[in-house]
Point group: C2
Chain length 285, copies 2
């Protein structure tokens, strides 16, 4: 699984019979944490690369797509998000995006693996630039347990920025976890979770959406965006809302956002909710 | 360039230090035409795969994205497209999509390499299903010469469905070719051309757009869509209009289109024109 020669890091996606590789100039680091193996590479064109248990997590050059789309659509959809929880997200890129919103009063990030954050601080310092924001709390603990025990109706937005549904991420893709999330959210609160590739993971996406509805969420919205380093280069996140339907987003606020983004803007937000026909058929047909 | 072992076809994208591979079950065919080397593979998950001069052209499973986006947006943008010319497009997938439009009266396809079409007939018969439509004419000739000599103001839509701007496709990406196209179009006519990846080919896209404006086109529109087998998995096409601006598209007609599409629909069409911030900055900033 580790490449077709020493100058490349290549990941094979067995489920789709496809592979993606980046040219590597140097292996920077490797640690085996209590939870997973974390590797760092320097690439020729994409900056640094983090790999966890042989799965590509992010590169310096293209992580903005994923981090922005996991943060800004949900925050501009909620009427007034003050208290945010991030489950996973140890590279801190999502945290940085969330903290750009001046109305956010607290963000608690719970990643099970402190080593991911330590590696990010070293090799993706730009993503960790807001870690000392007084509104941020970084916990290294079990996100499933945290969500089970947190005070009911205390959170506005939950962002699940996890690995795939195998290994440590597995328990974040089922009814029991969604039950906990729903209880933890206030009325109108929104859970958003990365939901894999529309081209090759449709059964998983369908199961996730069913489990979210089974847990009592009132409305779902799956957004699409490009993400080069993930299987198929095309990815989704799914929003699940408690107590009310989706009704657009705070478009005027998005247009006059007091911060910069590389991918996200109000038009991109609207565009992300346009489903191709094959997806409508698979999920609604 | 031909893979990291016998079970994979892997293409290395030197310009981005990245690579994409598909698992191969069998090599089906290889011909060396007067113009290029054409290889056919059977893959494990993506059906058949066509490779020209070591560059992946299309797979059975994901070509619908590219072919639909090169055809339907331009045809639903033009008020009443009757006469269409396709330059390149030898696999005939774009031709099939164009012929789905009942208002189209003639489509002339000019691909320089007859072997591409012969291989497509054999290995992508579904894409060639409309080749015998009485409205279709398949010519195997030089598209640059054709466009230079065609009767002025005789075409409504020109679709340039070519390889990358190296090798036989090179002359399709410059001012001289765009001059010919503009002359050949009627007032309100539209040229559309595949315009590479927004993530890794921005200088090329910028140059193409400049050359189109230099040739006297009045308005441009670059659309974005996913395309797994091309570099970065994210692709664009650019529309250039003669004599008038873009002003939306025939949305009501797209909504009640009398044919099926897998990716394209009216919402997807609108969404495709939403530019990320980094693209606005690079092209307009």
């Amino acid at each position: 699984m580790s490449g077709f020669n020493n100058n490349w890091y290549t990941e094979i996606f067995a489920a789709s019979g496809s592979a993606f590789g980046l040219q590597v100039t140097k292996k920077l680091d490797e640690v085996q944490s209590p939870f997973q193996k974390i590797e760092m590479y320097e690439t020729s064109h994409f900056g640094n690369l983090m790999v966890i248990d042989d799965v590509i997590m992010l590169s310096s050059r293209d992580n903005f797509l994923y981090h922005e789309m996991l943060s800004h659509p949900v925050l501009f959809t909620h009427a007034n998000p003050k208290n945010v929880v991030i489950i996973g997200g140890g590279d801190c890129g999502t945290l940085r995006e969330v903290l750009k919103h001046p109305g956010v009063e607290s963000v608690t990030q719970i990643d099970i693996d402190e080593q991911v954050t330590r590696m990010a601080e070293k090799y993706f310092p730009e993503l960790c630039a807001s870690n000392n924001d007084p509104r941020a709390t970084l916990k290294f603990d079990d996100g499933i347990k945290f969500m089970r025990e947190v005070q009911p109706e205390s959170i506005d937005v939950i962002i699940v920025d996890s690995t795939d549904p195998i290994g440590p991420g597995e328990g974040l893709f089922n009814r029991a976890f969604y039950d906990s999330c729903r209880k933890a959210l206030r009325h109108g609160g929104i859970l958003v979770q990365q939901s894999e590739s529309p081209l090759i993971h449709m059964p998983l996406l369908k199961d996730m959406r069913s489990a979210m509805l089974d847990a009592g969420f009132d409305a779902l919205q799956t957004l699409l965006f490009p993400q080069m380093v993930y299987p198929s280069g095309w990815w989704t996140c799914t929003l699940a809302r408690k107590g009310m339907a989706f009704n657009g987003f705070r478009e005027a606020d998005a247009v006059k956002a007091p911060f910069n983004t590389e991918y996200y803007n109000a038009e991109v937000h609207k565009a992300a909710s346009a489903w191709p026909n094959f997806m409508k058929q698979a999920l609604l047909g």
